[in-house]
Each structure stands twice: as C-alpha cells, then as structure tokens.
C-alpha cells in the first residue's frame, strides 16, 4: 500500500427521480474536479493544497450546493460555511456566515494560516477577508435561478422542522409517483438540494487532509450553522486519515462523525473502510449521512446510509471511479 489517493463528494441523499441529464452533469463536474486533484498530486502538491484547490473548483461550479449554487436562507440570501484540516499537526480553519467571499474554503485556509484563531464567522469573517484582500463579490453571484425555485418549493412544503424524519422508503416502492415520500432534513427529496461538497486527500508523503464546503440547508434560518464548518463533525484529518461528511447536519454533529472514523482507527485499530462502516452503522441511528475518507496508506473509502451519494475516487495505482448510487 501507499501512494496518493483522493476522494470527492457532492452530497449524500439523492432524488431517485433526478433526471439523467442532471446526473450526467454532476458526474462530469466530479470527474473534472477529481482530475484536477490528480494532476496536483502528480506534481507533488501537499494534501492540504490539493483539497483546497479541488473544493474551490466545486464551489465555483453551480451544480453543487457550495459557493455559487449554494442553497438559500429563508430570506433568499446565501450564507456559506467551510472548513479545512491538515492532518499534519491537525491544524484547522473554518468559516461560517460568509456572504461575499467567492471561495469560502480558501477563507477557511486563511483563518488556519494567517489568524491566531481556528474559526471566524459572519461579519468578523467578512472583515478578515477584506483585510487580506480575498476575492469578494455581491451575494447575488452565488444565487442561481434553480435555487430560487427550490426555495419557493421548500417554503410551500413548509418544512425544516426539527424532528420530522420518516423511515426511508425502499426504492422499488417509489414508482413513478410525483410525490416522492423520501425526505431528508425535513424536505421532500425532490426539493432537497444535494448538500455540501468535500474532498479528502492523502499525498505521496502519506499526509492526509480534508475540506468541506456548503451553502447549508435550503430555507434555513439566517445564522444557522451546520456540520460542515465544525471540526470533528463534517471535517477531520490527522496522521491516520482524512474525512469529509455530508447529510443531515444534526446527525453528523451529535455523532461527531468525522472524528469518530479516526477515533475507531486509532483506538480500536480498525482499518479505514471498517472504520467508515462502523461509524455509518453505529453512529447514525435515525440520521442520514455519508462520508468519504482516505488513509495515510493510500486507501480510499466511502460509506452512506442514504439512497445515494455523489462521489468520485482515484488512487495512484490507476483506480478511478465516479458514482451516485
């Protein structure tokens, strides 16, 4: 074992009725970002640089829910958050409530590298961005027509209540009905935007890193923080592995999912896939989520208890795969 490895994701929980052309579009974006990461790894860029540049690419593309294309708050605005962690030294940076910074993951990186803190939010994060000449745009830049439409539907569905989960219906009973009974985070799956993007990398030197970025939940309250910027929940990296999670924020936060993958590897001696499987099986209860992970030994793994997860993997020995189901 050994060598570099990379995994990317574009959210867990997929509408089984998602039109084929949308599925193809998503897979193309994932493939493009994966290839970007692969080139960077081949030119020996360190893991933390690779995760940043891959997530920047995912943020810039409106297909996924981060940066441009972020889900909208109840007020129709965008509030983004992101975190990044460098397994070497377990340094980390996170931001929340970002409204004008073009690439939240890079702001999170700046917090990690250039501030005495680990996590900045809202006006403080925006001020910090301006202090460092980070690229900013109007909030409108991030808003897509698709998401304006989704917000309207979400308001009509009148959900985002707290405990609303219904059991996941088996796929073969969904049929062709317009009203899909699948729900995530209180929204019918057809309205629920794929949530969050992330990337985990182990480089040629065995260093792991992880980064996650999101616009959060459609129709969320202003000021709501999810799992993506929380170290140990949505993102984690240490000497052993790098992990990025996506799905129902509450389940990921209370399950400290990203940290738990590393913890079972460290304290129980499990291998990477076994650790991911353990966490998905034992830590989620009624919650729905998925994760990607890499280990210092060049392995990749993923696990999810949702009906699908947008993801892509590649390893140095030539393995490459992009998938949804």
């Amino acid at each position: 074992m050994g060598g570099w490895a990379i995994a990317v994701h574009g959210g867990a929980g997929v509408d089984p009725n998602l039109p084929l052309h949308r599925q193809e579009e998503a897979k193309q974006v994932l493939a493009r970002c994966l290839n970007l990461g692969i080139s960077a790894l081949r030119s020996s860029l360190p893991a933390v640089d690779v995760v940043e540049l891959v997530v920047r690419e995912l943020e810039s593309d409106p297909v996924f829910n981060s940066g441009r294309g972020s889900a909208l708050t109840e007020k129709g605005t965008v509030e983004m958050e992101a975190s990044i962690m460098d397994g070497k030294g377990r340094r980390c940076g996170a931001v929340s409530g970002v409204t004008t910074v073009k690439n939240p993951v890079s702001l999170a990186r700046l917090v990690m590298d250039k501030s005495p803190h680990s996590y900045l939010a809202f006006s403080g994060a925006e001020d910090f961005a301006r202090l460092h000449g980070v690229e900013v745009v109007d909030n409108d830049y991030f808003i897509t027509e698709d998401n304006r439409g989704m917000l309207k539907l979400a308001k009509e569905a009148n959900t985002i209540m707290f405990d609303y989960r219904i059991p996941t219906v088996l796929l073969d009973t969904c049929g062709a009905s317009v009203e899909n009974p699948l729900q995530m985070n209180g929204l019918p799956i057809s309205v629920y935007a794929p949530e969050t993007v992330g990337c985990v990398v182990v480089d040629g030197q065995g260093r792991c890193a992880a980064a996650t970025s999101t616009g959060g939940l459609m129709n969320k309250m202003c000021g709501r923080i999810g799992d993506s910027p929380l170290i140990g929940a949505g993102t984690y990296a240490c000497g052993l592995c790098g992990v990025s999670c996506t799905g129902e924020g509450e389940a990921i936060i209370r399950g400290t999912l990203a940290r738990d993958v590393a913890a079972v590897m460290e304290y129980k001696g499990l291998g990477l896939q076994a650790a991911v499987d353990f966490v998905v099986k034992e830590r989620l209860d009624e919650g729905q989520a998925g994760m990607i992970a890499v280990s210092q030994n060049g392995e990749v793994a993923c696990g999810f208890n949702t009906n699908g997860m947008f993801r892509g993997f590649a390893t140095e020995d030539g393995f490459i795969e992009v998938g949804i189901w």
Binding site: L120, F122, D127, L217, G223
Partner: protein, 338 residues
C-alpha cells in the same frame, strides 16, 4: 435506545457497573492562574463555586434531570461577574462582548449551541431553546433574532461589560498580542500581579452532572478570550470539542480553544472510554496529559456510574465537585495528591 447501548457496552466489558449515585462537577476556567492571585478575587470566586455547587447538589437531590441541573448551574455562573461568561465576559478587540455556549443531553444526544451573542442574558438557556426548537446551532444576528422571537431575556450590551474586563483588554492591547500565551510573563512580580490581577486571561464556565439512573448532561458557556477577533468562535459551542455527553460520560472543557478544537477533547474522553475500555479518570487523564500540549486544557467530567474527574494541565482550574457518597471539593490549583 441509549439505555440499551449502555447496557450492551457494560456487558461487553464483562461486568455490571455498580451504580455509585449522582455526581456533579463544575468549572470556572482553566489557565495561568497565578498563586499570587489577589485574595479578594480568590475568595469571591471560591464563594461562587461553593454556591453553584450547592445549587446543583440540591437540584440533583430533588430529582431534577441532569439537563436541568447543568443549565441552572451554568446560568448562575453566567450571572456572576467574576467568571468569563455572561456578565463578566472578556472583551473582543472591539471592546464588545460575544458570548457562546453549548448544552448536550447524553441520553438523547440532542445538543444546542449558540455563538456571537451580545444581549442575551443567559447564553446557555438560549442554547437549550435552540436544541429544543430548531437547528442545532445558531449564531450572531440570527441567534439574537431567535432570542427576541422567543421572548428570551435580553439586556443592553453594556450590562455584560465589567471594569475588570475593560482593564484586561487594555493590557492585552498594550501587550499587543492575543492572549493565548499561557506562560507567566517573565517580568511578573507582586506589583504586576496586582495590576493584572493575577488571573488567567481566559476562562469558561461549565457543568456536568449525572443522576441515579445514569442520565448525563454537559453544559459550557464563555465570553471567549481577551482581545479575540470579532467573529471568532472557540471550542465551547463545538460539540465534541468543548462540550460532549453520551451514555458513558459528560464532559466540559476549558482552556485554549484552538487546541481543544484540534484535539476534539470532550469527544476523545468518551471515545477512549468506549474503545479502549479505560475508566473515566484514566481516559480524561490521557486526553489532558498526552493529547493536548501543556498549559492548554482542563476539563470536568462525570460518568454514568457516578465517577468524577477534574484534570488540567494548566497552572490552575477553578473547579468544584460533589458525589452522592458525600465527597466534595472546591479548588483552584493542583491539590497535593495530584
């Protein structure tokens, strides 16, 4: 489901734990607390710890749930201006107060957190409301708006600012550094101690409790640290970092936020208990001694079986605890047995 899991874990270890009764521990911050701390400061803080411990013990004895107990104890600590939470919070670089807190119910593992509060009198109660009513974590304007919508008690921002903290900020700015350096300044002498009041520049308040049935809860609240950047979030509201509770234990940590976040301190105590089978005391000691650099962390923790531990690797930690079998302790510096 939680109880089944506890029992399953206990059987896995091959023995039934004997229930040891209720237990409670609280902290008022770990850091570089100088032994030359002004006596009146020390006495005031000890009196508050004693008072809060009594409140918590009485509540447990009258069968209040641990979730209610930790909330009411932390409210009391927030209201006391001597500790860095609520009134008495340290100031940001702008001279304002930004408070944050988190509460977690070990039974259901529901949690609530808030950050960036400027007018809410009891951040911990808002965190509880967030846990019960809405998304897990609300911050800044959104959190303040939520508070007003729900008629939560708010006061003008000036209520939270104390003369001591204005002075601390002034000193921090003069020292021209963010006060994350916990080592004693080299030129420290009695005069300096009087000026800088000998007190740690940071702090948190927190409480953990377990009842007779093994139900656990944790709560932490803070103003952050002196001269922090506006918008800085620390470890306190991050589940798994400063606050955590599950069916095994409840933990509230304090110290250098950045180190506690990267060390996922509160979660690790529980993880080490679960995955390595260590006792509460061993797991907590492992985290504090081996997983976080010296001078950075302290924590209070209780287990489902009524154990208590309060380790720290800083100069001191304001702390108090009591157990049903009659043990109680109020302390600041390491006790002689440490």
């Amino acid at each position: 489901m939680r109880l089944r899991r506890t029992r399953a874990l206990q059987r896995e270890r091959g023995r039934w734990w004997r229930r040891m009764g209720w237990a409670i521990a609280l902290q008022g911050g770990a850091g570089d607390i100088s032994p030359s701390l002004l006596p009146e400061r020390r006495l005031a803080k000890e009196a508050c710890l004693r008072h809060c411990l009594r409140l918590g013990v009485d509540a447990l004895k009258s069968k209040k749930s641990p979730l209610d107990v930790v909330e009411l104890v932390v409210r009391e600590l927030e209201n006391n201006p001597h500790f860095n939470a609520g009134r008495g919070s340290v100031l940001t670089s702008d001279g304002t107060v930004e408070m944050e807190s988190c509460i977690m119910d070990g039974n259901t593992m529901k949690c609530g957190a808030v950050s960036g509060l400027t007018t809410v009198v009891n951040a911990i109660s808002l965190a509880r409301l967030v846990m019960e009513r809405t998304h897990i974590y609300l911050a800044f304007d959104g959190a303040e708006a939520f508070a007003r919508e729900h008629g939560v008690e708010t006061l003008d921002a000036s209520h939270f600012i104390t003369p001591e903290n204005i002075e601390r900020l002034k000193q921090a700015k003069e020292a021209n550094r963010v006060q994350i350096d916990y080592t004693q300044p080299m030129q420290k002498n009695e005069k300096d101690a009087a000026t800088t009041d000998g007190d740690s520049r940071i702090g948190t308040v927190g409480c953990v409790a377990v009842d007779n049935d093994g139900n656990l809860a944790a709560a932490t609240s803070t103003g952050g640290f002196v001269n922090k950047m506006v918008g800085r979030i620390g470890d306190t509201p991050i589940v798994g970092a400063g606050t955590y509770a599950n069916s095994l234990c409840a933990v509230s940590a304090t110290g250098k936020g950045e180190a506690i976040i990267r060390g996922t301190v509160a979660r690790d105590v529980a993880a080490i208990m679960e995955f390595k089978g260590l006792s509460l005391e061993e797991a907590a000691a492992c985290v504090v001694k081996e997983r976080v650099p010296k001078g950075n962390v302290g924590l209070v923790a209780v287990s489902a079986t009524g154990e208590v531990t309060m380790p720290f690797n800083t100069t001191g930690m304001y702390r108090a605890c009591a157990t049903e079998d009659g043990y109680s302790e109020i302390a600041i510096w390491p006790s002689t047995k440490d």
